[in-house]
């Protein structure tokens, strides 16, 4: 088990290395650098000025050198004015060094956000905190509701409850966040006026009024999928011999479901919930943009829209890390929950 986890962590690190290299390559394409230079300099700058801005800020160094600097295996160079030989900081708003130093991700320095004029760490981690709160409430709604729906539907396969709940879950998987968000806003904010159609005020304080819509919008898409998986697992368990034995012993249906079926039926949904995280990340981006909630997704969109290289790399690193670590947890947890599975 231990060596399995070590090997998996090795794969995760390799994957992160490859992915950041790909992201680094894509954000450093010539049109993207041009866009960055245009947004960072004043209006109507000539092509030479753009070029000199890029060269001055180190964007014209060798690609692998720059990747090495971002990673922290090569020293980051300050700007040296070719005429005077005076050394200045690369970006003054981030306390960049004036002497060559190793300051990359490996040293815990995520770089400098050109859009927000601040360090990436100062922008990214509060945003992650805000998204963490959102995710907590989403999971708190999504997991119990979907498990309940799945168990109720799978308890008696083919019954009326099963069919109604199954169709409802299919409908919910057909409703992406930008669709349910619009529909819920129309119903609850525009029509009934019960809830706020914007979560912008949620960064000051979360209330039922401003936070319900983002949470249910994000939860609804996952509910259907997890419920269907729970149902399938429950249906399978209910046909097992030991359930029949328990019934024949004379136990009531309720106690068979609660005591015998439930525990075994909940192993599979655990994996599914863990593997929902990549999708939740995309959902978070949509929901945060739609409801103007200043979290991770909002930061990602801002970073991508302005080609904020370091911030976007930080965002990709975080999201890839979340995706891979949840996969690892789901594998390890599955082996832990199901004693019949042994990890080689």
């Amino acid at each position: 088990m231990f060596s399995f986890i070590i090997r998996r962590i090795g794969t995760i690190l390799l994957t992160m290395l490859c992915l950041t290299l790909v992201v680094f390559f894509l954000v450093n394409l010539e049109p993207n650098l041009k866009k960055l230079a245009i947004s960072q300099t004043e209006m109507h700058t000539s092509a030479e000025q753009l070029e000199s801005w890029l060269a001055n800020h180190g964007y014209r160094q060798n690609f692998f050198v720059r990747y090495g600097q971002w990673l922290g295996v090569l020293p980051e160079q300050p700007i040296t004015d070719p005429a005077t030989g005076k050394v200045t900081q690369r970006f003054s708003f981030c306390n960049d060094p004036t002497v060559p130093t190793f300051s990359g991700v490996l040293e815990g320095d995520f770089g400098c956000s050109t859009k927000f004029k601040n360090t990436v760490a100062a922008k990214l981690f509060p945003a992650l905190g805000a998204t963490g709160i959102l995710m907590f409430w989403v999971l708190a709604v999504m997991v119990p509701v979907s498990l309940l729906i799945g168990i109720l539907a799978g308890m008696r396969e083919g019954s009326r409850t099963d069919r109604v709940l199954s169709i409802a879950s299919i409908a919910s998987t057909a409703t992406p966040e930008y669709v349910s968000g619009v529909i819920f806003t129309v119903i609850f904010a525009s029509w009934l006026g019960w809830l706020n159609g914007s979560a912008a005020s949620a960064s000051q304080g979360i209330t039922f009024y401003n936070f319900t819509l983002p949470v249910i919008t994000l939860a609804i898409y996952g509910i259907g999928y997890i419920a269907r998986m729970t149902r399938a697992s429950m249906v399978e368990v209910m046909t097992q011999q030991y359930i029949r034995t328990a019934r024949l012993k004379g136990l009531s249906f309720k106690s068979v479901v609660v005591k015998h079926a439930l525990r075994n039926a909940l192993i599979a949904p655990f994996t599914v919930i863990m593997l929902q995280f990549p999708w939740l990340l995309t959902g978070v981006v949509i929901v945060e943009v739609m409801f103007r909630y200043q979290g991770f997704g909002y930061t990602l969109v801002e970073a991508a829209g302005n080609n904020d290289i370091d911030l976007l790399l930080g965002c990709s690193l975080v999201s890839v890390f979340i995706v891979l670590i949840t996969q690892l947890i789901s594998d390890v947890g599955y082996a832990f929950l199901n004693p019949r599975i042994r990890v080689q």
């Binding site: 794969t11 994957t15 490859c18 992915l19 992201v23 894509l26 954000v27 394409l29 010539e30 049109p31 993207n32 041009k34 866009k35 199954s166 169709i167 299919i170 409908a171 998987t173 057909a174 409703t175 992406p176 930008y178 669709v179 968000g181 619009v182 529909i183 806003t185 129309v186 904010a189 525009s190 029509w191 159609g197 990549p278 990340l281 995309t282 981006v285 949509i286 943009v289 739609m290 997704g297 990602l300 969109v301 991508a304 829209g305 965002c315 990709s316 999201s319 890839v320 995706v323 891979l324």
Partner: protein, 385 residues
Amino acid sequence: MQAQYIGASSIFLEVLWRFWPVWVALAIVMGASFLYKKKLALYGQLFDSGVGIAGVFICLFWLFTAIFAATVAPFDPLGQIPIMKDTLPGAIEPQSGLVYLFGGDKLARDVFSRMVYGSQIVLIIAPAATGFALMVGITLGLPAGYYGGKIDSVLSFLANLVLAFPVILLFYLLVTPGIMDTPIPYALAGVFFLFPIVFFSVLVWTRYKNRPDRIYILLGLTLIVGGWIYVGLVFDADPLHIVHIEPNQLNIFVAVVFASSPGVFRIVRGLVMDIKTRDYVAAAQTRGESPWYIMLWEILPNARGPLIVDACLRIGYTTILLGTLGYFGLGLAPESPDWGTAIKDASRLLRSFIHPALPPTIALMSFVLGLNLLADSLREQSMKD
């Protein structure tokens, strides 16, 4: 000047009436399917359950809407009639006397016509992209599952690499106006569009390699048709100017194929690993069939059930992805009538007007729902066997 309005019930009747070519086509196809359902194998069995009928009905409805869009939609989806700006549903356009059935949007375009034309974009790109993703996934998944070992490790690592990207990040990196100035989308298109040609060539080759009378005709046909479409799509250099795709559409297409082919790869790989232990595969191996013959003509046909179900679900998923692209304004033209772009435009103005937002959302949801119902009922039917 105040616009004239028609009542709610007349809107309803008028909408039903506008869809008349769709109803006629639906009646013909559904009627014929009911009559001959005994002879139609899996498709016929769909008509045994309510869920299946609903799925077929919704999917065909949008299919025919896309085909007859020019007849169904009363207005040009991009045409702006200034007087109709932000009008409520049922407003009468004074010049032609036709009705803005679902009202006008902030640029004074007919919401109903845009919804109808939006179906065309979705129904062309989503199934085509899914088809390409299937080709890529199958062509790579078969050897990965069959041979295992190094090929499997390398391909699986690459697939997991792509799957570890959150889709939205991938789109923000791959679908930007800037990237169309670089050769990346064309290079990716060049690689992806090669797979169908390779797939069909190998398919024909393994089957007929001992029959010279058939092999040359079929192989030649595959290469000519495939090469023609390939040249038209990747280099936009079709000598006959029939096959043509806009650079931004190519960009979207490539990104969607890129995002969904690793999923297909994983499914195919899993299915192959399961099926290759069966007796008929061992029999074929003993007969001395080549590995690719076994993969394409023994294993693949037996994996078709789950693959068809997955294809249905995947078209829906691709539709959702296209909507996501439209919602973030990536790739598609800003005035494009596709549902995602329409939802984006309307959702920003929800405080003042809700009517432009509802038709595209309901359209997208119903189409994906139809596909999911279809997939669910196909799964039920194939489990019965």
